[in-house]
């Protein structure tokens, strides 16, 4: 027995790796015309891991205070070897992660993968989406540049308009009445401690539920073809991850993430302030609602409407438990899904039009 084999046997005796590998070999993935969508979950996980890795590297140099944050990011981008690459990959990967997460969510929605018994898989996935958006919102402020500063001011103002708890939320998010260095420190805490802890827990639950229930075969698909998770599906997953890595590298090299100008709280807000693209559809919706609707304040009505729509979206597995597999309401939910896709796309595009700014 070679020394390598002896080491393997030593690890096997203590960890039981073969049992895990055996589980992977026995786990089967349905193979049909919609299988492609299954790779989105793995790609999201890959991008999340990229975020964790690049985020840890950024932590080595980042300083979370209003007088040092911008300079430290500038230092990372100009003086730290490959710092520009790490920061650009972190920023691009964050955006790709949210984009892939939306694709994953809509693919699960349209393939009705939320139906019984995967309700909690859907709910935990939605929680992960909210957490990732929270990562995006808190991380956007950390370079402490002008755009981030004013976008955070607008974003937290929206939270402040929520009835009853709005003012508390605004103060909780900002750490006071205004966006200050205190807000930056607070957002840093959310970004590197609170959200990662929550995300790890919810991600663990989500992966456990995916493992427990396996991949859902969409209603109407009769194919009984399957492939083993290990190695066939995992190898395909790896191809997707490599493609994502290539895209990230190209984006980072050709379109390095801009740093902009350092935030000046006393300067007037520049024109065209808007939040990150994945919040734009909500921002644009609020902008288009008239000041007063039927005696109610338009902004509050909009926030309540978006919150109610989000809640209903999370509750979809309970509203459409069969997903059309047993007949019933699923066509209606498919239509609602397409309306949501079109609405988000149109509103996001409108926010980027010159007149929408």
């Amino acid at each position: 027995m070679s020394s390598l084999e002896r080491l393997g046997a030593w690890v096997e005796e203590r960890v039981g790796l073969s049992a895990i590998l055996e589980l992977g070999r026995h786990k089967k993935i349905p193979s049909h015309r919609h299988t492609l969508w299954y790779y989105l979950g793995g790609m999201t996980l890959f991008l999340f891991l990229v975020q964790v890795g690049s985020g840890i590297l950024l932590l080595l140099y980042y300083r979370p205070s209003s007088d040092q944050a911008f300079e430290s990011v500038q230092f990372i981008m100009t003086r730290v070897p490959f710092g520009w690459l790490v920061r650009s990959i972190h920023s691009w990967s964050a955006n790709l992660l949210v984009f892939v997460l939306f694709l994953h969510m809509f693919s699960v929605y349209f393939l009705k993968a939320y139906r019984k018994p995967r309700e909690l898989t859907w709910v935990s996935g939605m929680l992960l989406l909210f957490l990732m958006m929270g990562f995006g919102f808190s991380g956007y402020l950390l370079p402490w540049n002008t755009l981030a500063f004013f976008a955070t001011q607008v974003g937290t103002q929206v939270a402040g308009a929520v009835p009853v708890v709005g003012h508390f939320m605004l103060r909780f998010l900002r750490g006071g009445e205004q966006v200050t260095g205190g807000t930056l420190t607070r957002f840093y805490g959310f970004h590197v401690a609170v959200l990662p802890a929550l995300a790890t827990g919810v991600l663990g639950l989500h992966l456990y539920l995916v493992q427990r229930h396996g991949m859902s075969t969409p209603p109407g698909v009769d194919s009984k073809k399957e492939m083993p998770f290990l190695p066939n599906f995992l190898l395909r997953d790896l191809i997707g991850w490599c493609l994502a890595l290539g895209c990230l590298a190209a984006l980072a090299a050709f379109f390095p993430w801009e740093l902009g100008q350092k935030a000046d709280p006393f300067a007037p807000a520049p024109a065209g302030i808007r939040p990150e693209w994945y919040f734009c559809w909500m921002f644009q919706t609020l902008k288009l609602i008239p000041g007063h609707v039927l005696g109610f304040e338009g902004e509050i009505l909009g926030i309540l409407g978006i919150s109610a729509a989000g809640l209903l979206w999370v509750m979809v597995p309970f509203l459409d438990p069969t997903g059309g597999a047993g007949g019933g309401r699923s066509r209606f939910f498919t239509l609602v899904g397409w309306i949501a896709v079109v609405f988000i796309a149109v509103m996001t595009a409108a926010a980027y039009m010159p007149a929408g700014r």
């Binding site: 191809i239 493609l243 290539g246 050709f254």
Partner: protein, 435 residues
Amino acid sequence: MRDSLFHCLARTTLAAVAAVIIALAGPPASAAEPPSTPRGPGPLETSCVTCHQQLDGAALEPTKHTGDDIHFLKGLSCHDCHGGNPAAGADGDPDAAHDVKKGWTGKPSRLQIPEFCAKCHADATFMKRFNPQARTDEYSEYRTSVHGKRNAGGDTRPAVCVDCHGVHGIRAVGDTRSSVHPSNLADTCAKCHANPETMRPYGIRTDQFALYKTSVHARALYENGDTSAPTCNDCHGSHGAVPPGVDHVSNVCGSCHSREATMFREIEKKKHLDLEPCIQCLVCHGNHAVKQPTDDMIGVGPASTCTGCHGEGDAGYKAAARMAEDLGRLSGRLGEAAAILEKAERAGVEVGPDKFALQKAHDDLVEAKVLVHSFDIDKFVGVSTEGIKVAEEGISAGNRAFDELSYRRLGLSLSLLVILAVIAALAMKIRRLER
């Protein structure tokens, strides 16, 4: 009829005598006392307005301004300036209203107007009721002005208060509709100073307004809306308007351009008196038609102002040539550095610190242009050389940014090749597994 004629004659004589007495009494202490407080009733309720509204022409005119005149708006009324007894006039008796015993002065002559206005405007106690920071030196300043001196000498043509501020319908200086608001002041001065008929007796040129309109000062005021930009009174004074003497021009310009003025004074300390005719601002920049200074003004080229005093071969000529050369080089290198860093930034390289460092070269360029006024070539070269060095460092930083960009793209190409190779290997592995 004879009674009526006599009565009219007597009234006119009395009024004229009263006016002469008031005028001879001397301003402002012996003029009629200003009202102790803004008096009621308000202007619209007095018999002055109600009667004059029934009249025509000049007698009607004052009643049209009860809504926009600063005096009316502050609660003052006709009789606060003109005296008289409007209460008695309420019975319809104009003679009782125009009672000389009650201080009625009628319309003051142009020689009387400065004192007429000064009875309130030179009274600090009275003026502070309306504005704690109100000036009360306008009258004394006026008397030092060419306008005021000629007026005191009996010349009725030079400007008095009402020529600039208006008679009735006077607005606050800060009101953009006021004839003395910075945006209107030059037009107000030009009413007389651009009028050949008015200026001919005094032998004063009338092209100042037209020249001023072409100046960088007028552009700042009229095109950029910068009301701090100089107009007539900023150089000549307002109430104490005088043409600045040649000796004082640098002080006048220096009230805004303080660094250049300081440098002039340094030269004076060195007793370079032989250069004095050359070192006044207007020799190079002109007076009313001050243009935006250009680099071409320095040096020995055709647009140079230096060659007006310096001839080929003298030290000043050489210094001017060196200044022009350095300024051109600094401007050129600075522009080059800014362009390459801008291009690198657009390509995605973070050059914020390099752009910040380049500010020093920009500051040096501004400083060098100011130092031209010191006529000290050593000081000038010290700053310009430093600026050129910083600008060249900026160009190097821009070049390094492009080298970095090439390096990144090479790295990306190699990484993509590796990634493609891994993808191909994975695809082959899957194919072999599923064969």
